[in-house]
Symmetry: D2
Subunit: 453 residues, 4 copies
């Protein structure tokens, strides 16, 4: 279809948003009970015309509340916007007598917390979608640990999952020609490897061997939901510092690259936590890149191993007797802050740390029998395979502290994704290169009494 | 924000849609039970990667089914994709013991028909949103009267109401520079006053005194959801024929118009029946027009009165004794197909028909105590007021047959909309001009024995 | 760079154009001498502000003139807007004494016809570029044969060649999603194979095996300058009727085509005659198609042979004795309007007509020693090669009348274009397939007394 | 017309530009004589296909030259690309005999320096237009003072005036949502009040009381040609510092402003010197602003007075006896770098400097009898009027050094522009407010022996 026609379409939503609620509400001295009243009025409103006005008013009031009043409002959401028990009793009784679709529908309807209808109606106001994402962000920070946290949270998630359906997300390349108003958000939201300002941003984006893509949502406008940074390289890269410095893997032309390395995926909206976009994003970006650069052969991540260092400490260093004395001793070198600059120490550590990391990734599971490491869980769950563990992959302070300096490549092979995913889901089986498997096996000899296993 | 950035965003969704499912599936010899299996697989799939593939497959199969198999599939939706009664029993038991939000959430979750989750998952496939709208269109036509129709229909509506949330709709002006692929749909979907082809379309759109606006949805692309046609006029127009012929109300320049007359509102997607857009559309168009043409003073419809003629027949002509003999006799002139060309007859009829129409609009109510006439119900429900009843407003065959040649102006006065809406909702009170009220009153003397009332 | 930013840029120019000069001027009773005065005022104006106003006024007056007054104005252009002879004499005298760049510059300046400065100044008004193209269209039709035609025409060409510099042209794909306002121009301007209306247009454009591209100019807006229609086929097509009917060469998907056949190139603006775009257009379209569809191997035309039939008549039928009696007799079959439906006749004709066509294309030259046939001249001049002559390639009435039913494929082989072009320019050498050369050779035996050559 | 269609058009030109000549040429060891050869080949090429290739090659070679070789090339342009004297002699002889348009056309053609045809042909290459602008930038800097400078320069100007015709320029609002690639150029090109980086830029652009507009050219892409910065204010502003700090004239909403103050106009392309855009820019921006903000009443500049301080020094301080002793003494306070912080001194200076500035603006003329001050010349030439001279309008170091701290408001009153312009052109009459005229008059008493005049 005509792209330009479509493109034009979307000015409206966002234009409306942009103008809106900028000055409203904040000045007034509202309390949570004003908001309660406004919400009740909204829920009882019959006409759509009135609803929009009431929804705008309620959002304006919410906007003007301080944290205490917001907290009180969330408590009221829990208490006053649940469901009518008598209606549920009646509906269940009818359903029990005749388990028809009709009675099921009634039961479903009356057991829906009224909060959900409230949120749907609030969403009628202009720009409301983003306001509600922000409201959930407040909710997550103000109500964490509150006893009614989970069910209310579930109400948000239930609606957001519909509103942020994958079909409504829009992939957009981000580069140096992207509007500054969006780029400043990229600077702000980058979560993996901090961007130090406009010059650093330009270094990351404005190079023939870099790509960055984000997901956007029509009703949210220029707020990215998630974005990923990609380096085009010859060969699969094993270290992050040259990529960040943009001084090493540089290539003559994008066409000469054979690998696309995803080195940073950042979720931007705290209020959308639990609505997952990363999986779709990676796969769509792979498609985009394949189309632009048919020479690309490897789609791979260069990922941190957060939690590995502390796992290492907790597992092997606090408890003696698990590792061989030599391994134990070598591991202690990590305490010497100079180890990264000392060839001998790094070589020794390499012999011990990488094998243990391979074991950590392949053997350590959480309560659902999925990998303990969250990044591994994410990529393996997407159908990627564990390809390589890179020693000295990230020698920044953060990299050493969290990942003992390691970085991991997860490989996305489009033809294997489905199969990998299925095995992973069904048996928790981890797709893994022979080398990493070998490495894990070699780790055994570091363990006391495991040689025979 | 930068419009062009946003505009660009939306190529993706729709580009994906455009390429997709064009050739797939249709050739295979699938039956409804293949689709059943595919849907069960989709519901039991754990990974997102797999879900997308499974969703695409299911939609492809659906696409290839004939009507009988589709019907069988809808029956299976009713039978096999309801909810698990035992889980409901358990959840209700827990809820009854402790009516907490947690137990409510569980009850809500288990009493959600599995169809809804199925539809949500189907929506993961590319272009699925429109496919599902089309699926509901099939459903409405194939299952009407089926005993389990309503609850399944409610499941569609529940999801569509979220997906087609007002905040996601995009208003777009349609004119002669709109892509042909969209214009041909305008020709096809115009429901009020048929468009006879490209030349007629051009006459309707490509004139300085015409406007047309439609709502579009990002995930649906170039399929309009609803559109409205507007004529800019000096004074509030009372007849549709000059507007359709574009030979009468023509003005030197749009800036000289004082009135915007909405003369046709067409819903385009049968599959979205019950999801209402018209109210929002009118109000947003009023805003657009006010901004473009600050001189506009009247925002008004030129609407048909469908059902009036048959009501007239049923009420007054089949039953004698209600009208005065003179009125009864005059009414009989309607049977003479030549009456529109006869001044005497039209004058006589005018004396009788318009007052009765005023009474019809103001007094005749449906079971919810709302106006019997659906067009009146729509506009009055939006907060408009009944402004004028125009004799010989539409002398086309259809106009005479349905509306006894009358057309009605409903006036949208922005400052009164909310108040009108409230009164209408609360007491069923109809906002109405003094003249129409007068007219209705004058109708009393046509009724036998009503003079004294 | 950011495309969307650029795209937005161009609203302005054209928006301004669109609104402008729509109502102005026409009502007044102007004569050519009013226009003369306005032009003199414009030429003598010093300030830019004033110039714009004066330019607009002059164009408005021009617009309101009838043909006689326009003709008088063009005569005045010839007479009153030439150059000042005394200044030329002075400048030449100075130049003759000292042939420096400074004196050359002066001579150049004073010998520039004042018409050129006038046209440049007229071009300051909004939308003037298109107005001036239309003015030249008038000029070409009203002044043809006029004794001062050529120099004035040269003044237009001199300026248009700068304004319509290839760097300012914009290639745009035209398809069913293109605005109707542009598509109606495609219908109107198609010059090779008439388009019969919207349905026919859709058949030509809205198919996966069709492409259409046009050149546009920023200051002209939605008026195409030239466009080309392309069919994607398996193998090089030899007949136009199946393509026009869209019922033969249809392919499963564009990706399966190995050939792109250019079957119609239409210049749209008479006023731009002599400013050539076709060469650039073809080459740019080849680039676009290669990028979209890497499988394409052949870029080829399916071209008519206008003038061949009349050449045939004139050369061989009016003069007896050139052809062998048998050939002469066969050729006479062309007079039988039924020959296309008679296998025997078509077979006989094929034996005679194709070889003669090959000779016509390869041997018949114009006064510049270039091919007599204009279509051949165009494509061979672009560096294409004569690939195949197709019997019964176009059996429409027009095809038979002009081209004796033949169509010709010219092949664009990117790597040969430059070499072909050079040989053609230098020696008039025609790049040609072995088969066509063979065919031409075989034609010799149709000629009396040429068997031995 | 359909804007989005148009907008899409323009991707091509610039996309081509962007990719182009990025890596080419620079590595080779070319000299000016290689370029000479390439240019001669280009001029002698017959086919368009070949021309484009040759043009690209020539530009690549130019690109790779060092300054000495570039200088040599420009000298060769002067020497080897002039015209053929014999042809000129012949053409003149024919013209002298018969002064017809035909002979004039021939003379014009042969006296056109071949450089012009060369530049036109170079412009066939992709992205060439901008390359040629850059070439002229080199020319201006490398050849200044060279004896053949002017005529070659005139050749550039002759062509650029056609290519950068006002009708091809595109006005574009620049704000915080503009692509970063363009914003960084705004930072770089701002000539009047330096922008200190991204934060300063944001302060200047991203505020509801700021506007910035630039002219762009389709064939040049994202390089602005000129841009203007505007502050929306209540009342006509008299000081620049609060505007730059964005801390004073801030208004609640753009709609509340009554004045638009143009406080910086920056030409961006040195290579386009002599092609004037500022006049068109200001007028088009006034139109844009009037449409967006109908409440605006004043369109005014806040302009520096460059050269005033040095004029003051030269005229009055170097030559004693012109001013009264008191005035002379007061003027000497300017030497005290602390005067801006001293109320007494500033008050005294005010009494002397402003009246002298008024005289300077109204009385001091250049050799063409136009105002000596270039900024005044520009705005008055555009039809603006001298509205107010503001004491302490710019107390930056630069403001004090160049303008003695003054800033001037020039007022653009649309209805007066033409009249002002005409009077200015015809008699050099300066449109001026009564107050400034009064001020100038009051200056007389500062002059010795002028009291009686």
């Amino acid at each position: 279809m005509n792209m330009s026609f479509l493109q034009e379409l979307f000015s409206n939503i966002t234009q409306r948003d942009a103008l809106q609620r900028t000055f409203g509400g904040r000045k007034a001295n509202h309390t949570h009970s004003d908001l309660d009243d406004a919400c009740q009025a909204l829920l009882h409103s019959d006409g759509e015309a009135a609803s929009i006005v009431l929804a705008s008013r309620a959002l304006d009031i919410y906007h003007s509340l301080d944290d205490d009043n917001k907290r009180a409002f969330f408590e009221s959401l829990a208490k006053n916007f649940a469901a009518d028990p008598r209606k549920i009793d009646d509906a269940y009784r009818a359903y029990k007598t005749d388990r028809s679709n009709r009675h099921l529908a009634e039961l479903f309807e009356v057991s829906e917390p009224r909060r959900q209808e409230l949120l749907r109606r609030l969403n009628l106001a202009q720009g409301a979608t983003y306001e509600l994402v922000r409201m959930r962000q407040d909710f997550l920070s103000l109500m964490r640990g509150h006893k009614d946290f989970d069910p209310i949270n579930a109400d948000f998630i239930h609606l957001f999952a519909s509103w942020f359906n994958r079909g409504f997300l829009v992939l957009k390349r981000i580069d140096w020609t992207t509007p500054a108003s969006i780029l400043e958000k990229i600077i702000r939201y980058e979560a993996v490897h901090k961007i130090e300002g406009w010059d650093d941003l330009r270094r990351r984006l404005d190079s023939r061997d870099r790509r960055c893509f984000g997901f956007f949502h029509p009703a949210i406008g220029d707020e990215p939901l998630i974005f990923v940074e990609v380096a085009l390289t010859k060969g699969i890269p094993d270290r992050i510092q040259p990529i960040l410095a943009n001084d090493h893997y540089d290539i003559e032309a994008a066409e000469l690259a054979d690998s696309a390395a995803f080195f940073g995926i950042s979720n931007c909206q705290v209020g959308l936590r639990g609505i997952s976009f990363g999986n779709f994003l990676i796969k769509q970006v792979v498609q985009e890149l394949k189309q632009e650069l048919p020479n690309l052969k490897n789609f791979v991540t260069l990922s941190p191993l957060p939690g590995f260092r502390s796992w290492l400490e907790k597992t092997y260093r606090s408890e003696s007797g698990l590792l061989t004395p030599e391994a134990q001793e070598t591991l202690a070198l990590l305490d010497d802050s100079q180890w990264v600059y000392d060839d001998e120490m790094t070589n020794s550590l390499n012999e011990v740390v990488r094998p243990l990391a391979a074991r950590y990734l392949l053997k350590e599971k959480n309560h659902e029998n999925l990998p303990l490491n969250p990044v591994a869980r994410f990529h393996l769950g997407n159908g990627a395979e564990l390809h390589r563990i890179n020693w000295m992959g990230d020698i920044s302070a953060k990299g050493i502290e969290q990942s003992a300096g390691l970085m991991v490549n997860y490989l996305y092979v489009l033809e294997h994704i489905e199969r990998n995913n299925e095995k992973y889901i069904t048996n928790g089986e981890i797709a893994c290169s022979a080398k990493v498997r070998e490495l894990a096996k070699s780790g055994r000899k570091l363990l006391q009494g495991e040689h025979e296993k």
